[in-house]
Each structure stands twice: as C-alpha cells, then as structure tokens.
Amino acid sequence: MNDERAHDALALAERALGHAMREGPSEAEVLVMTEDAALTRFANSQIHQNVAETNVVVNLRFVVGTRVGVASSGRTDEEGLKRLAASAAAIARVVEELPDWAGLPEPTPIEEIVEAYAPATAEASPELRADGVRAVIAAADTAGVTAYGSFSTGTETTAVANSKGIRAGGTRTVAQLLTVSMGPGGGTGYAESASVDATAIDAAAIGRESADKARATANAVTIEAGDYPVVLEEYAVVDLLDMLGYLGFSALAVQEERSFVEIGKRIGSDLVTIVDDGRDPAGLPMAFDYEGVPKQRVTLLERGVCAGVVYDVQTAAKDGVTSTGHGLPAPNAYGPFPLNGVMAAGDASRDELIGGLDRGLLVTRFHYTNPVHPKLAIITGMTRDGTFLVEGGRIVGPVKNLRFTQSYLDAMAGVVGVARERKTLKGFLGGVVVPALRLEGWTFTGTTEH
C-alpha cells in the first residue's frame, strides 16, 4: 500500500479541517481526492491521443446546527483552504435547516485492503501503455482488422477527516484496456479487461478476442425485430447491474418510492444473486466510502429475491439503520450508490449457454442505454460490436444491430443460465464482476443499417 500518498492526503484534510473549525461549525467534514491518471488512446491502429493529469479536489461539508454548506476547491495552499472554509461557512449560514439532518458519521474501524493497490499500475509509464497498445494493434494486423481503444492507468487516493474523529485514508489503483476492432464487410468486435494491476492485463489476448469477433461479424444480415432468447456476454451484463443499481438498489430511491425494490419481493430467477462488495479482491476494491464509512458487503438480490439496498449516513438514519458505506461526495442528490456490483457465478460454460439456445441471439454488448420507464426498469438501447444468430445451439452467423426496449426486471426473472467464468470490468462508476447469462426472452424493437 502506498501509505505516503494517503498520509499526505490526510494531512491536507487535517489542514482544511483546521481552517473549517476556526469558522465555528457544529460539525465539519473534509474529503480529499487526489489522482494521478493517464490514458493512451488509439484509433485506426495508431495512438492518436495520449494524456496525463495530476489533480486534487478538497471538498468541505460545513454544518451549523442542521444547516449544511458544501464547497470544493483544487487549491491546497493555506490561503486557498481558508477561502474554502469561508465559502462553505457562508453557504451554511444562509441555507435552510434540514429537520432530519442525521449528523456526520462517527469513526468506525476500517480494515485496509492490500489487494486494492498495485505498484505496477501506480508506476505505469507512457511506454508501458504504448507496449500494450502495440500488442493490441499487432493482433489486429494479424487478423486483418483495424484497432481502436484505450489503455488507462490511475492511482486514486481518498482521505476523509471529520470533526467527529473520522480519519480515513487509502490509495487504490485501476487499469483498463478496451478495444473495438473494425474489419472487412462491416465487421466489428469488442473486448475489455479491468484490473488493479496493469501488468495483469493480457493486451494481446484482448486484441485477439476483439479482432476475431470483428472477422466473425463481417457481412451481417438483417434479422426481424421481435422476442428472442439471448445469451448476453459479460460486456452486456454490466449494463444490467449498472441500471438496476441506479434505478433501484439505492435506499434513497426506495424512500422516494421511485424504486422497484421491495425487500422479500422476487424479481429474478433462482439463478440470480447480486451483491455489492467493495472488499472483493476480484473487483476494483475500495475500503471506505466518501463519508469515511467502511464498505459493507450488501446482498441486493438473493436467489432472485430483493434482499437489501445500500445506504449512506442520511438515508440510513431515516430507516433507523447504519450506513453500509455507500455515500458519494457531497452534495449528492442521487443518494447512496452500489459501486462494486458482483454477480454470483453459475455452472455453465460459454458453449453450454449458447448450446441452450434453440433459436436466439448472442449479444456482445449494449450501446447508449437509457430508461424509458424507470420504476419498471424498462430500458431502451442498441446492440453493438457483435450480435449473432444462434440456431440449434450453434452460431449461424452475424446479424445487424438491433434496438431493444426491455424491462430489466423481466430480464432478471428470465435468467436460465449463468456462466461459471466471470470478468472484472469497469461499470458506470465503479468496478463490477459479472458472468455471461442466458435469458429466455429479450424484446428487440427495431433494426438499423449496420
């Protein structure tokens, strides 16, 4: 673990908290987020964008009674921190009271996650990323396709210090390599990998997977829209977890009656178990949330039945429970959010999932999904980068992309097969661990030209 970064961030948080306390709050909280991030992007089988940044954000939540002001700044000098405190204090003095303000959290022991940090990612150079990109391009060249994508590496340090005594600090690393391949006959493919350790990503294998798919999707034919059984690859399953988390598994969504979640209600098949686990080393771990509360493992769906939602401090107080460690930086209108979704593995191989389709579609990934009816989790979106017709359990050939309009709740209820292999991927906001799935039905509502 890179203790020096966390130590420095906590020292900055302490300085900011000191300035805040001199303004006379009843409570105050400082969140420091520092980042060293780099991303090498490629298109047309060459690097075309290549960037790096060093950044810091100091976020101050300043409380007077039940009045709360929030201010943030990128300045870390004493004058900047002093101004930050004055700004948050000025806001707190003019806003209205929050009658149900639950206060800032009390300290809770936080257990470090050693697996969250990989020195190789923290030290990743532009040359290392370029090496990975060249491996992807080489795989594309071999297959006669063109490579597009990105290879990112980053080190994120989070520190929280509040007037109740919380002192939380930690550093984690995240690396991601993704590629889209384009080949003759309009074929496209996709592959991705995310990891704490950049050197654990097999760039050549990612390149081959995507390039092979681009070759396999050449000369796709139009298939009529309608209901089809499907096998969703892991890249598509990510969207199910993201959307269900966004629309339903937040305590605030339940409290505002806009969620589909009712504890004890069945929404999925017996094969579906989803947890949010920030400590799972298979994902992209984080030990505590942006309020300095340790992350708990929360079972969201247990064998298809709604089992829980995630909480931050404010929503937990309203329900008379404790925060599960899913708070986002203040101010936060979204409420708590499950950032580390993990779907339980099944017992099927990929071939067995496909083999179970009498006539259906194999979908690589989704594109531009959006809720049509949030409470019923009805989502529209497109397929992309590899959609195939399967007949008699065998892939017949590629089909052009389709639009779907589908309830993700009905999708969960229709899961009839779960892969035993899982992939670690980046989701909407965090890391997710997902298997491929076979579903008995998926509603496709339109076609397009490619």
């Binding site: 690097i47 929030v70 943030s72 209205e96 370029a130 009805i378 992309r384 509502t445 397009t448 030209e449």
Partner: protein, 482 residues
Amino acid sequence: MRDLTDRALDTATILGAGYAESRVVRRLDESIAIKTGRVEGVASGETEGFGVRVLVDGAWGFASSHILTMEEADRVAADAVRIARASGTALREPTVLDDRPPAHGTYETPLQEDPFEVPLERKIADLLAADQAASGVKGIAFTESMYAAQREWKTFAATDGSYTEQTITHVGSAVEANAIDGDEHQRRSYPDAGGGWNAAGYEYIRSLDLERTAGPLAEEAVALLTAPQCPSGRTTIILDPSQLYLQVHESCGHPTELDRVFGTEASYAGTSFLTTDKLDEGFRYGSDLVTIVADATAPGGMGTFGWDDEGVAAQAVPLVQNGIFTGYLSSRETAPRIGRQSGGAMRADGWNRIPLIRMTNINLLPQPGMSLDDIVADTDDGLYLASNRSWSIDDRRLNFQFATEVAYEIKGGKKGRLFKNPTYTGITYEFWRSCDAVGDERSYVMLGTPNCGKGEPGQTGHVGHAVPGARFRNVQVGVGKW
C-alpha cells in the same frame, strides 16, 4: 499567466516539440438543489490548473497539473513531450495541422446581471418559490429544482504566437414535478429536466419565470397518472422545442463531428453514418425545410465563444442547407483531410482535458410563414410531443428512440387530451426527410445541454441548440406496449 504559458511552451520546444499549446483554466461553479421544498444542497466549487499539448514528430502528447508554478510548468511540458514520443512508437500517419492565423484578443460572455454577484439568499428564495409552486400541488410525490452557474477564465497560448483570454459564463435552472401511483411514475419539467441553460447572467434565470410555470406543470404531472397510454402506430408528430433540441443534438450534432467520421471516437461514442463520400455527393439529409448551422457566435448559446481551444476564431458553419448535407464540425487536424480549414469546434472540459471536436450551437433555423400554433392548426390528426424523458441512438447515429414526458392529441387542428409514456423511433435521415413544417421565429428558442459526454477520459460539454418547433410525417410512435 503569460509567464507560465511561456515557460511551458519554451520547455516543450527545447525538448523537441514541433508545436505546443498551453491552456490555463480557472473554473468557478455554484449550484442549488431543492427537493420538495427543502434546500438539499448548496455548493460552490473552484478548480484551477493548466495543460500542455504538444506535437513531436507528428505524434500527440498531453499532460496537466493543478500546481501553477514554473517548476511544474517544466515538469508537465517534459511529461507531455515524453508521452508524445511514446505515441510515436505506434504512429502510422503523422498529424498535420491546418495553417490558421495566430489568435489574439479577449472575449467575455455578454451579460446584464452577474450571477455570482446576486446574493445567494436571493437565488435560493427564487428557486424555492418555484419549487413550492410545484410541490404544493395535490398529488405530487416529490419535486426537484435546480440552479447552477459556471464561469471559466481561460488563457490559451501556442508556439505560433497565439495568445487569447476568455471569460465565459453559463447559467441554468429548472423545476421538475414528479407524481407516483404504484408502478406509474410521471414527471413534468420546465424548461428541461436538466435545466434551461444559456450563456448569460441571472437575467436569463429571471426570464424563465419558473414560479409561474411550476404550478400548471405539476398539475399536468398528476393528470398524466390517469391519462391513457399513448397509442402506437405511424402518425404525424409535432415536436416542441423542448424535445426537438435533443433530436438535433443526437441526430445531427453528433454525426457531423468529423473525428467520429474518421474513427477517433470509435472506441467509446462510436462513428457516424455521415461519411465523407456523402459530403461529396450532396447527400439528402432532410427535407428542403431543414437548414442546420453550427454557430459559435449565436447570442446566448453555450457553444458561443471568441476562439475554440485550438485558437480558431468562432464562426458559423453550415451543416445542412435546404436538406443537403454540406459540412462538418471540425478541427485543425481533421479539416485538412477534407480539404477545408478548421470550423473552430475544438473544446476541452477544463484544464486537465485535451480539446475534442464538440458541438458549438447546433441550430435548426426557423422558416418564415408558420408559427408553432399555425402548424398545430394545420394538422388534422397527430401528436404534439414535449419535454424529453429519455434518449438513445445507435453508434453510427441512425436508429434513434426518444421518449417524451407528455403527448397531446391533435384532432382537427387543435391540441386535446393528454397521453402518457409516448415514445417515437426512426432512422435519422428518413426522419428529417419527413419534416414538412418548421416554425418561424416566434417559437425559435436557444436551449442546450450541460452534460454532453464524449471522449476518454470522459469529458462533459456545454452545448447550445436554438430550435423552433417542427412537424414530421409518418413517424413510428410507440414500441409494443411503449
């Protein structure tokens, strides 16, 4: 700032950059969020830093930092050059920029009432009054109201001698009323769920008159709970500006981005069906009534500025003229590849991001002759759709599906009963070719979105869209139950 930018450019040049540019950006944000009469969040934010983008032997590198010192300028410039050399190890076609003249001068968003000088208490009170006008309506489950302002001070310097300073101010506000009954959740928002936004001062917020609009809006949200489902089938639709602006954004703005056409966004946002052969052949994008321009000089638009982030002067670029596809949003790197000069559409989301081709103000020009009311009166049978609720479009920007908050039935030239959960879908060019009426200046309004996503690492763009209302024939409304 000149010392810092000079230092960064000198260091980059000494280390081997053939071209370098540096941007120093300070950004101030302020936001107010109200939920059901409660002030849930008031926040201010400030960020400042600089970025250096370099070309070394035709390969790009970029580095950035929040530390504004000479030593850091040296480190960041050196980092950018090292990154560019790493780019050079996987380079097939060296980058060549067009030869725009060096940029000099200053630009400032015109405004009457500085939003950062209006007392916070006043801004909270104004928004609270609007929110309470909605939340007080019987049957409303919750309301969400927002106000936000952003100001950016931006200094641009390049090794060709360019040096510009700009101060750009954007403000936005909205009220949203939500009604819930069992599984039914209906909302109405004004001017848009994400906010009505302009490049302006607080006078724009006052002009929205949110408090007057909020009550009737909330009543409509409640009424939608018991409204019939919007019928499915092919029919005539009239799009209110509150929906049409997003239709323009998704189906004209994005596909005319020349970087998408050349594949450099393929790994994330996708590509475009508007390939360069379509420019050469004079592709029919829409009907004769459809003229769309990318105008970075349009008053009030969030895509209005003095120079883009490559130092190219703001200009108006025709994208579609009388239905024929005529131009792209472009950059100094992409425009020469089609034999043109940059149209000045390179914009970066802050100091720590490179400029990308982004929309400026993508405007559907009004057509003289018919007001929006005239178009309704001229429609015997159809639907009037308002306020976007969801959006989706494929990776080449062809197949789209939108949902709006509300549909009004049109019979015999009159707007009648409400329908809930309307959606419509189509193929971009077929849809725009079916346009047979475009409103005149009376419904022409500048809207926009502050959350246009693009790029890796992700960037959020503020873009403008001035549109009137318009009518489209034979459009597929509804998909199955929806």
